[in-house]
Subunit: 393 residues, 2 copies
């Protein structure tokens, strides 16, 4: 075998995640590894919990990073809250609602599906109808920010509806945390999961979660054991709990947590509301450029996420070639459509550290050049100046 | 909130893991993040699979890193191979056999326990008796290298026994991979999991696994869905599979995989057998020093792991104070006993990059000084020279 060290190219990451990682995060991850029970590490865990509470705007004690990617964070919520036979209202308006259904069923629950068109927000009226039809439902689950379409749903209203019918609310905030308004306590969310590789500007692999007291009571009063040992919060709580009761569960991914800690410090330095405003400002500039080019957005303006821009292209465009040209000529990654959206949209991420003026201009300039060279009909030469004008406004 | 960046102290990690990380691994982890579907990343995934096959000494196609710590690697093996009602012979001679029982039961299986004293290897005769008593058993599961005691079991013999009774064998190799002989194909192991934070000199957070064709056939012919979506190998295989069929499952922990790749390159550069010999040589020197000090080993010499040294101390020693003095005065971490072994042994790791001459001498010198200062009765001043003599032999 003649394999040698791997040296990745330097890309600009404007897909659906991972997004550009703040160099401070990479530097933090390269710091010396210490033991997962070292008192110094334990202090860092406590700080990380506090920083995550600040990012989620919650005082939930059970707020911590799951030692695995966002899909494991999702499963942690479902596997801890669902017992066999439980009815769960699952709202689907994209790929990740479908994954919620898979999770419910694998936990032995029954998923009552509320379907909305992809690219539309979850319709509260349909959810209320489902709650009326299924008075014995225990949970309402929905995606706050659909990464597959770029649509945002009204989390506050949906949680209120769930509570009105005495249900818990599980919320997917993988793409929203750090990028657009998300208020766990004010909106009274019971269980929420996110990812590190989107608007936190961190590397992928960790999933921040938070649970309300109401959710913890449900977990503590389960009649059956949680089917996953690795994800069982009754066990994990003892490891991420307060100093006295801390006991070994699994070996925490030390250096990945250094990275998360640093990314959360950076978020606090900027301020949550400033981060949200920055995401919006860069989205407005990208939008000005995209529209000046003659392209359009897949999601209605009222329900559009600033951090995940689903852009439609002229029929017949060899979209895969466009993405490959952007990658090879400009080291620029944008995302394809996922599932049924493949071949219909691009997903242009402006997430976390990647949400900056330079990326907006690079992306517009590169897209203009590649589309023009490929003979795709656009208003060439307009995009960058339109974005510039938006930045100056 | 006034939290600032986290700067860990520089420790010498000689506990049960994480062990000292090779600086090349830390450097690799700080390289620029690229997309998880980037063609360059996909090539690196293919290389990582090949490197893992070389480390496991297997040609198993389904050899890959699970995107979570070793306990998730364990659960991946159990949750994919067990269906409700399956009987599993679980051998327990330490903490991790007990965790296997938990896994079996949470998958709806029945665990037939074969108990051995902690610190002893798994007794093949008892396993054979269990196989005769339970002809309908489907799986035999055991720990190759018990991290809680430092005892190694005869994996080859136990797997042969399992096959003789038409059972699959699941093997825990968290602490053995890269540190002492482990031959997946030659020993015909069906399912195996390990961790990155022991003898691979990598940071914690990833679990290498490998499955034989026989195991894959069982997974593909399941009557029920795997209860974990995140760990379902039918789905993960499509992501870690061959180029043509590669499809999105979850977002891989990009930078953590850079680290694993580098650690596996380092292992190949040294050569597996050389790495095993190095672990043995450093263990012999530590042993010479420990014995010269008048302390003894918990495990019989014939079944002792070179990478995990369980050392007994004089009755009445304030062992927690010893460890805390080692940490505070020498930045040296050694491990306590786990579970029922707490207060009875220390676990001194000589794993991967941490298995070196300098660490052996540092540990012996520091231990001698701390024990003497605390008035614990030992043969002071003998340990380092005994180790030196062993190195020169």
């Amino acid at each position: 075998m003649t394999l040698s060290s791997f040296h990745p190219p330097v890309r600009t990451l404007m897909g659906p995640g991972p997004s550009d990682v703040n160099p401070r995060v990479l530097e933090a991850m390269a710091r010396p590894t210490i033991g997962h029970l070292d008192p110094v590490f334990v202090s860092m865990m406590d700080e990380t919990k506090e920083l995550l509470q600040a990012a989620f705007l919650t005082e939930n004690k059970l707020t911590m990073p799951v030692s695995a990617p966002g899909s494991a964070g999702m499963e942690t919520c479902f596997t801890n809250l669902i017992e066999p036979g439980d009815k769960v209202i699952v709202c689907q308006n994209g790929v990740f609602g479908g994954r919620m259904k898979e999770n419910v069923e694998r936990c032995g629950g029954e998923a009552i599906m509320v379907q909305d068109d992809w690219g539309k927000p979850v319709d509260a009226e349909k959810v209320e109808q489902a709650l009326q039809d299924h008075k014995d439902a225990k949970i309402v689950a929905f995606v706050h920010a659909e990464t597959s379409t770029g649509a945002v749903s009204d989390a506050q209203a949906l949680v209120a509806l769930a509570h009105q019918y005495d249900c818990l609310a599980i919320v997917d905030a993988v793409t929203s945390l750090g990028g657009s308004p998300l208020k766990v306590d004010e909106w009274e969310i019971d269980a929420i999961y996110s990812g590190t590789q989107k608007c936190l500007s961190c590397t992928p692999g960790i999933s921040p979660v938070s649970f309300s007291e109401r959710a913890i009571a449900v977990i503590k009063n389960r009649k059956t054991k949680v089917q996953s040992w690795f994800m069982d919060l009754n066990l994990v709580m003892d490891y991420w709990g307060s100093g006295a009761q801390r006991s070994y569960h699994h070996t925490a991914p030390i250096n990945a947590l250094y990275g998360l800690h640093e990314s959360l410090v950076i978020l606090q330095e900027e301020g949550l509301e400033n981060a949200w405003a920055r995401h919006d400002k860069n989205h407005q500039a990208l939008k000005a450029g995209i529209e000046a080019m003659g392209l359009s957005f897949f999601v209605d303006e009222a329900h559009r996420l600033p951090q995940l821009n689903a852009v439609e292209f002229p029929a017949g465009t060899d979209e895969a070639k466009v993405r490959s040209e952007l990658l090879n000529r400009y080291n620029l990654e944008i995302g394809s459509g996922l599932g049924p959206m493949a071949g219909k949209i691009w997903r242009i991420g402006l997430m976390g550290f990647a949400s900056n003026q330079q990326n907006v201009l690079t992306c517009l300039g590169a897209l203009d050049a590649v589309l023009s060279d490929m003979g795709v009909e656009i208003n060439s030469g307009k995009a960058v100046s339109a974005a510039m004008a938006s930045f100056s406004a």
